[in-house]
Subunit: 520 residues, 2 copies
């Protein structure tokens, strides 16, 4: 059985049970056995993380940054092994996806987090010199990261965005590996171990568990030694864990589900319907649709252009090969979601069933529903079909289209396509206002699939997309304040202030001093 | 029966039941009857707030600011009537407290909120010019404010900090009056009505309900037409409402309870024990101790100075008149909390029972417990005794004192008193680190009772002080982002961007542009 990583050592688990991941390209179970940890070792991980955090409270940001840079370099050097492991466990192509896109993104995120820790600007230092009151965000305490299945590197619980943000803001991390890529995650733990040794970081900075029982998972989330949670995964499991954290007022940052509506205004359809169709298909089928920001709900007005668009999407979906899904569980969820949409009254245009054979795959699936039908059960028609499936809503009128928008739940993104000649401008604003209220990111004439790692990015949104509409999971430094608490120092003697709040501003952080942002 | 304020008109409620507030100075019920609203009118208020919010989405910040300024001026002009009403309902002194401190603070908060709305800097505009991604905080939707009993002006649900923050960030407010001062709150509704008429604001901007059943209160909090809640009040009721909001991922900003530990280091006690005692007594008995930041837990080492301190506090508590409490319910809660502390093993030094007569009052109460005893049931000994009561923990050793600190729950504030000659400096930092992790605001040599309205203030803290350690309820503009959502505009055409994100920056807001904070 594979070893867990606790208190700086890889050691045998006391687990009574184990699990194996599968290779989605063949459907066959992989050879390595991973333990389902018992409470005893979860308990120890929490103790170790607590002690580590005490050491980190007085640690220099430079030391934390050096760890992140070193870890990033080790990941870069280990690229081939990581790509091989992740390909085997996820079926994602080695190139360009894993090796040329996701691994560089992961390294970049860690380096950006290092730079943010060094600068201190992330902590929003605010100083009122007259009242001698100063505040900033500070590390919150041990963080547990539950990573998703769809980004084995960039959202990995031990190397991805939440991990980078939690460490950079000064917290130790307990990673709960995603069960579909435990070997990849273990490899990150080995590299983190090397980085910890090289940079003299405390042993509990990074720890790894592969799986726990539901009961123990909830117990861990509710434990007072754990300060915050980053969770990306299924809505049901996430809500269950969130309810435990909510009861004790503990921040639980959840990214749960999103159908990412795309609204095509009539002028745009007239002007460049064919082009829009190609753009959509490329985005919709990319990575077999397994992105949190995959455009899963297209909304348009009934017209000849709409008919052509739907027919075109159907043809392309039929003729394009179905991508490999991440796991059997993604495959079965997708088939189930499609059947829910059909049962609610959506018309199946193509696809809908598993591709025969061992490989995890579902035929590219397109569904259609009228606006009127959608309005008869808006909740059911917003069922997320995670993967290569899309629901197209065709509305009779602009009034009906707006009614559809009013029924939308919270989403990560929404996009509006409009004519370049201004012919849609008269109807744009009310639609944009409605959507902006419902989503974390609004796009114009652009698919939402790409999530740039930018300080201005918001990868978040109202429930049920996430658990709180004020936070982003992507973008350094903004994502860091999730794993921080606001602390105010009132009349605290100058030498006792955190460096970032001292008059000398040794890090040259951006600070708001008496209402003026300055680095001096 | 008094009229409710819905959809811009004062009208009769359909309520089947009603309630009266009492005059705490006499214990007698006041004459006016206030309705307990039925769901039908709550439902209408939510509808009206939704429509109002749609109008507000495209409203200029200048218009919102003008309303806030106008409202502030009307409050200033109505000072005498407001002070009379609040005095009658709360027993708080007309002067200096109500007329000279709290009313000016309330007016000032509204004016600061107006200025913040005008400047736009509160919304933290962040622009990535290369990627053409821009984000900022934007209004979240209708907000319900549950105001507390202890600040009839400065935290009033229709004039206080949460109200100002919610309106300034662009949201309509439904006020749920505190049941102990409904007439004061109604007066604010009347002034808000005048300000709405004068400035041409939509009718649903401000609405007022006095009370609802528990069931309807929960239904309102969970209703999708309500976007966020500001709640200051009792822990039990707050947690019940919070659980409803949590289930649907809706921000519920709760300020629940706090004992505000004060740690006296031995050097400070030796140096100026007498002075510290006087400073404590003034702060502890101010307003009959009815402040969220009242210092309710004093922690010190056993010593001759500590003995003198305890004896001095006991004497002063005995000889000082007991202040009037806000209501019978505060009185009975206080007596109950004291009995919980005694039952856990605290020694009653003075006070502990109701002052005879109709007036709401409890004798000034001091209790003592050893560190060892405290550690035997740290939860019970952190029972908040809201009012003029204090628990003094006397520890045998610095080790024991640190153990006591480790057992502290989340609080709004903590203060550390240390010697001016540096003799406590060797022990300061680990104690400060432990406390800073547990509280929203750490003070040095200063009582926490004053909560300055400063951009650097944090009136917040880890659970159970509040529901999330990243937000402040006092301090403009920081408190505004509670009632906002983060919205990102990705490749959105320039003319369609909110003003605060446009290149021209018409409001001259502070913005982070490519990592540099600038007003240009």
């Amino acid at each position: 059985m594979e070893k867990i990583y606790i208190n700086g050592t890889f050691r045998d688990s006391v687990a009574a049970s184990s699990f194996r991941a599968s290779n989605p390209s063949t459907g066959e179970a992989l050879e390595r056995d991973f333990p389902v940890s018992e409470w005893k070792e979860i308990d120890e991980a929490l103790d170790v993380a607590s002690s580590c955090f005490k050491e980190m409270r007085s640690m220099s940001p430079e030391k934390i940054a050096t760890f992140l840079d070193t870890f990033a370099d080790l990941i870069q050097s280990d690229k081939d092994a990581l790509v091989d492991l992740a390909h085997e466990e996820t079926g994602l192509p080695k190139t360009p996806r894993l090796g040329d896109v996701e691994l560089p993104r992961t390294v970049n995120q860690l380096k950006l987090a290092a730079a943010a820790a060094r600068s201190g600007s992330w902590s929003m230092p605010t100083i009122d010199t007259k009242a001698n009151i100063r505040s900033c965000y500070q590390s919150i305490g041990p963080v547990c990261v539950f990573g998703p299945n769809n980004f084995p590197f960039a959202f990995n619980s031990l190397a991805g965005g939440d991990f980078a943000a939690a460490i950079a803001s000064g917290n130790p991390v307990i990673g709960k590996a995603n069960s579909s890529h435990p070997a990849t995650t273990k490899r990150f733990a080995e590299l983190a171990h090397q980085a910890i040794e090289k940079t003299g970081m405390p042993k509990g900075l990074v720890q790894l568990l592969y799986r726990t029982s539901h009961v123990d998972g909830e117990r861990m989330v509710g434990d007072p030694r754990l300060a915050a949670i980053g969770y990306t995964g299924s809505r049901n499991a996430g809500l269950q864990l969130k309810s435990v954290a909510d009861k004790v007022g503990k921040p639980f940052y959840a990214e749960l589900s999103s159908v990412n509506p795309i609204v095509y205004l009539p002028g745009a359809m007239k002007e460049r319907g064919e082009k829009l169709m190609d753009e959509y298909v490329a985005s919709g089928l990319m990575g077999a649709g397994q992105f949190c920001t995959n455009p899963g709900l297209l909304i348009m007005l009934k017209s000849q252009e709409a008919d052509r668009f739907v027919a075109g999407v159907t043809d392309k979906y039929k003729s394009s090969p179905a991508g490999t899904l991440l796991s059997k569980s993604v495959e079965s969820s997708l088939v189930k979601s499609i059947s829910i949409l059909c049962a609610a009254g959506a018309e199946l245009l193509t696809g809908g069933s598993k591709v025969e054979g061992g490989r995890c795959a579902v035929a590219n699936t397109a569904l259609r529903v009228t606006g009127q039908k959608f309005l008869s059960d808006p909740h059911a028609f917003q069922t997320e079909a995670f993967g290569n499936a899309v629901l197209i809503v065709v509305c009779e009128s602009m009034t009906e289209l707006k009614q559809v928008l009013e029924q939308l739940e919270g989403n990560l993104t929404a996009a509006i396509y409009s004519a370049t000649d201004g012919s849609d401008d008269g109807i744009y604003q009310p639609i944009a206002d409605e959507l902006a209220q419902k989503v974390g990111r609004l796009l114009n004439d652009k698919m939402p699939t790409g999530v740039a790692v930018s300080p201005a990015m918001n990868h978040g949104g109202p429930f049920p997309a996430t658990g709180h509409p004020g936070f982003t999971a992507v973008g350094i430094p903004a994502s860091m304040i999730r794993f921080a608490k606001l602390t105010c120092f009132d009349a605290v003697r100058p030498s006792r202030l955190p460096a970032v709040l001292q008059d000398s501003n040794p890090q040259k952080a951006w600070r708001s001093v008496d209402g003026v942002w300055t680095q001096s």
